[in-house]
Symmetry: C2
Subunit: 516 residues, 2 copies
Amino acid sequence: MNGAESVLKTLEAAGAELCIANPGTSEMHCVSALGRSEKMRAVLALFEGVVTGAADGYGRIKEKPAITLLHLGPGLGNGIANLHNARRAATPIINIVGDHATDHLRFDAPLASDIEGLARPVSGWIGRVPYAHEAARFAREAYRQSMTPPGQTATLILPADAAWNDAEEALPPPSLPKPAPPSARAIDRAAEALRRAKGAAILMRGAVLKEEGLRQAGRVQAAAGVRLLCDTFAPRIQKGRGRVSVERIPYFAEQIEAFLEGVDCLLLVGAKPPVSFFAYPGRKSWMTPKGCALLTLAHPSEDGEEALRALASSLKAPRNPPLPPRETPPKAPSSDDALTPDLAARIIGALLPEGAILSDESATSGGGLQSSLADAPPHDHLSLTGGAIGQGLPLAVGAALAAPDRKVLCLHGDGGAMYTVQALWTIAREKLDVTTVIFSNRSYAILNIELMRVGAENAGPKALSMLDLSNPDLDWVSIARGLGVAATRAETAREFSDQLGEALRQKEPRLIEAAL
Amino acid sequence: MNGAESVLKTLEAAGAELCIANPGTSEMHCVSALGRSEKMRAVLALFEGVVTGAADGYGRIKEKPAITLLHLGPGLGNGIANLHNARRAATPIINIVGDHATDHLRFDAPLASDIEGLARPVSGWIGRVPYAHEAARFAREAYRQSMTPPGQTATLILPADAAWNDAEEALPPPSLPKPAPPSARAIDRAAEALRRAKGAAILMRGAVLKEEGLRQAGRVQAAAGVRLLCDTFAPRIQKGRGRVSVERIPYFAEQIEAFLEGVDCLLLVGAKPPVSFFAYPGRKSWMTPKGCALLTLAHPSEDGEEALRALASSLKAPRNPPLPPRETPPKAPSSDDALTPDLAARIIGALLPEGAILSDESATSGGGLQSSLADAPPHDHLSLTGGAIGQGLPLAVGAALAAPDRKVLCLHGDGGAMYTVQALWTIAREKLDVTTVIFSNRSYAILNIELMRVGAENAGPKALSMLDLSNPDLDWVSIARGLGVAATRAETAREFSDQLGEALRQKEPRLIEAAL
């Protein structure tokens, strides 16, 4: 067996089932090994930002790493933006980055570059296989590292000779580190602080935002009257009817200030203290209210769900407090009114099927979704974690690969969707059950708001043209069809409702351009 | 004036005329300053790989830097692959990368990342503006650095507060370093070596491959009977009738060996010794023949044209040796035969207008171009310098912005074109005179060859599917129309000839899908 096979089989033994690839010459032995593998699914993407974003989506749902296969420094480079998002989501990912054969490196051939340098800002761990006999050991370590709580990107650089030379047999699975148990002292301090506080809140992030963690948070809420919060951009939240709901911190600094007013005790569970997304002239970044006690109940590497369970016990919380009554969601609006973001949100809330996964990069068009989805059937909500737009489509690819029995609904602003539009081809090729809605407002709409907010006033037409996606208008129906995805355009509530209803009933790729 | 304006006006004073942008919130003061500028053209691209590749194309033609405007680490990340190509082309480029306001950085907000770390592998110089009063000084240094021979990328990190705070007036232009004069000793040694050699060759790269440098090389050739060579992927060559022609080193190692057989003296002018693009099991990387003398006549930072002129004088070369007679190119084939790469190359050779700029990422479909273009009217040929595919379309954007009076013809493989397909929208928006030919063979064709060559034989259908772009077929006509570019599809020689002829006569964007 050669090094490539040794790596692949070791990763398979550890539990890896999916390789998302955009390979080149230096990865040909990996491609060949992939071709011979019976356990590893291989999925091709036409751009590396799709590869890494899909690995993120897969890891968020499956809670184990997908393997990416990338072509030297430039291939990794193209994947960096979505690896940045994945780092903020703490998603387990294993990158295999091919490199020149070790003896070829010193010649500085055209594709040579500093792969470690590019990998460092987006990787929790980096390893370079020195020769084929070490390939399995490095692969096993990469798997273990990727699964180090709360999860991280492990980048394995595999020179071509380390892939093609004879190697050791594959290694058995590594022992995986588990989240650390919560600190008894932190729980005691939190219980004590909650007893004293008048306006306490718990800010949660990570696995604790799944159903069981939320249930424990609900018990604490019932016992101590705390508010339950999540970040503006949480990697994954389980939402909908029958689940404890959390309030999402708003986006803009002044909104956050108002939102947190009166909070005098903030418990962190897997989260960091809230800060504003951007700084603005004369505004503060630090959002914890003055005088508010700030306590860490569980660090991101600790078991937040267990910490909340222990806190609930300490507070003698009821075992199953009743959930507040939920509204039955209203029927989908179906007038001939021109479609608006708000109408679209209500239609989505009314039509979302149970068990759906929402990949949400709706940006400025998604304002109405929070409330319209609160009473929707149970679903998973994934959001743009690192601010690098162009994540939603790849994330949908990965989520659909992770959960082939669930409907994936991708909600995307038009500006962001152009970054990784190649994802549509992979959706078509793999016949993924993804419905994509492009909110087509023909603008980097957030930037029109931000241009005013940062005090850069009096912008003339030349500045505004830098934020404008018209001239020419993007025709999403043509683009999608060109990439193999059936597509239609909706201009009214009725059209959107009809088209989305049909798309959600089918089990195949579909794109709807929602003209706003 | 604020820091953003101070930067922009300093760069304008130095000679910058074009900013290619994909901005975000942290760049809003730059956008605002750009909007108020009368000298700086502002061009929006929908993806940063288009921004950086266009800056490369502009710099290669204009021989001065375009400014890019990029959004923090992820924006830079998306531009890395084409900055890698630009580094290999030694193109002057100035990146302005916005960052969080300095006081905001410590809060590690979602978009924070190690920008310097990402910039280092692709930048010759990196500067971070510490406060607005230093903005002009850093901008001037960035310009000077970008123009340091032979040219390089200068990355200027501009925190939001350094952009929005009050700053000094703009600074006058920097003094720019010139290429170093050639070394008299190197010229003497080269003359001496040429006199002794039986099979001498000169390998050239950089500005020396423009008309006047080639003329000097032609004089040396006439005096000493040397072969004139260029790299497989030269950044820019001036070619066609009336110009001294050079032989291009072939791609594969065994081809290079045969090509260089008998060369016993190799003079380097701005070039490095030839090495193979990739390593292969059991094959050597170093391509200089055994026993061949290897001499550097001019380093990349030295004046290669002047070195050749001095060498020609030293050899008492004729002032204007006659060029070998050129064939009149045959008429464009126009049969109803199915289009092939060879037919396409002959049609392109026959129809290419004088003064055209060719952005050539034709990959495996471009084999016939070398000979078919040899007798074409004078033109510039730009190629993929760093092996990071997805450069050809952005390069065409930049070349068209640099030379609005010249026709730009972009020849692109389908696999590579998908990487930065967003470039078509900028071509449409700016109404650039670019004709794009997509060689649609529905395959990463080079990888099918390489899979065999690296010894990864017996590839089954699963491995081969990783190299295959069909299922679904990319419909380039729909994709181009979706992005605002008129497009047609050609399946026969006649169709291709008719469509290309029409496109080259017009002065507007056009795409032809050449079905192979």
